[in-house]
């Protein structure tokens, strides 16, 4: 949670998977997944209106630009497979998306980028390695 009424709220911490009460029931989305949704909406708007830019907000536009540039996967099937691989490894939603967004190549990288995966002995090195190999394969054949 951002600070409320000037008081910093310290409990939010991605490395501990503490996302704040507002996101307890929320689904996290990878940039590549958001790109598919926003691109589809943008095309729909272009068909409906003469001037699509009048229909889209600045937040939408900036978000679309961002996810276009920062998506690691373009193919919708690849995106689905990535989510499947990451989800079956029993990662938290948040971890799934950070890994899907940053694409760590080695176990060391994965642990540095998503420190929560090593906490509470949840995933051993071998499992992480297999998972990353699966992701690299999906990327290769995208």
């Amino acid at each position: 949670m951002a600070s409320r009424s000037g008081q910093p709220v310290e409990e939010e911490d991605a490395s501990e998977l503490k996302l704040g009460e507002d996101f307890v029931k929320a689904k996290c989305l990878m940039n590549a997944e958001v790109a598919l949704v926003l691109q589809r909406k943008y095309e729909q708007l272009q068909q409906l209106a003469d001037d699509p830019s009048s229909q889209i907000s600045q937040v939408f536009e900036r978000s679309l630009q961002y996810v276009r540039r920062f998506s690691r996967y373009q193919n919708p099937d690849a995106v689905k497979q990535v989510r499947e691989v990451l989800t079956r490894n029993q990662l938290h939603e948040f971890e799934v998306c950070v890994i899907g967004n940053l694409c760590p190549e080695t176990v060391e990288e994965a642990k540095a980028l998503v420190p929560s995966i090593t906490k509470r002995g949840r995933m051993d090195e071998e499992k992480i390695e297999t998972m990353l190999t699966d992701l690299a394969t999906i990327k290769k054949f995208e």
């Binding site: 951002a2 939010e12 991605a14 907000s57 961002y66 948040f94 998306c97 950070v98």
Partner: protein
């Protein structure tokens, strides 16, 4: 991080927009989308990107006096909110002597110079030509990609936005190279 959350909002349909059921429903949806975009950003959920699905619409209630009809609408939407200690990639927008600004969707993240160990400021002829260089040859300049860690976020009530602060100090953080970049070298510059 992008999240899909469920929100509930009161939507008001003005008398002149009312018609048969389909017409009124369309007016209600238009109103919802407009209000959602106008709200832009909230302290709890961050930036309002787009509405995805309608989950529930209450029966309409007529507001006595104005003749407008109000609906309680539950819907799912995509929002963006930087989370403390999250590592993410952003596009550098402004390079300053005191640090640099990067954009992550509609959100802006400021990385102060003290969170950029090893980098040296190189002023340019004008703002767009300012750069930060480190000894390994990494360059932070406008439009380049940076991988950083969010160290804190703050709600700014006057501008209705969330400001975030970040750091480049840490493993695997710093300038990121894209495929196609002539200096691309098997991944990332450390």
């Amino acid at each position: 991080m992008f999240f899909e959350v469920e929100l509930r909002r009161l939507v008001v349909v003005e008398p002149q927009e009312l018609g048969d059921e389909l017409h009124t429903r369309r007016a209600m949806i238009r109103r919802l989308l407009k209000d959602f975009d106008a709200e832009r950003c909230s302290e709890e959920h961050g930036f309002h990107v787009t509405v995805t699905t309608l989950e529930d619409v209450s029966p309409g209630k007529i507001r006595s006096g104005t003749g407008s009809v109000i609906f309680w609408v539950t819907f799912k939407c995509i929002v963006f909110r930087p989370i403390r200690n999250e590592i993410l990639e952003a596009e550098v927008t402004d390079v300053l002597e005191r640090g640099f600004l990067a954009a992550c969707g509609a959100s802006r993240i400021f990385v102060p110079r003290k969170e950029m160990d090893g980098f040296e400021f190189r002023p340019g002829a004008s703002l767009e030509y300012n750069e930060w260089h480190d000894s390994s040859g990494s360059v932070i300049k406008p439009k380049s990609m940076a991988r950083l860690k969010v160290v804190g976020t703050r709600w700014e009530p006057k501008e209705r936005t969330i400001m975030a602060a970040g750091t480049l100090n840490g493993d695997l953080l710093g300038r990121v190279f894209e495929e196609g970049d002539p200096t691309f070298d098997n991944g990332f510059a450390i």
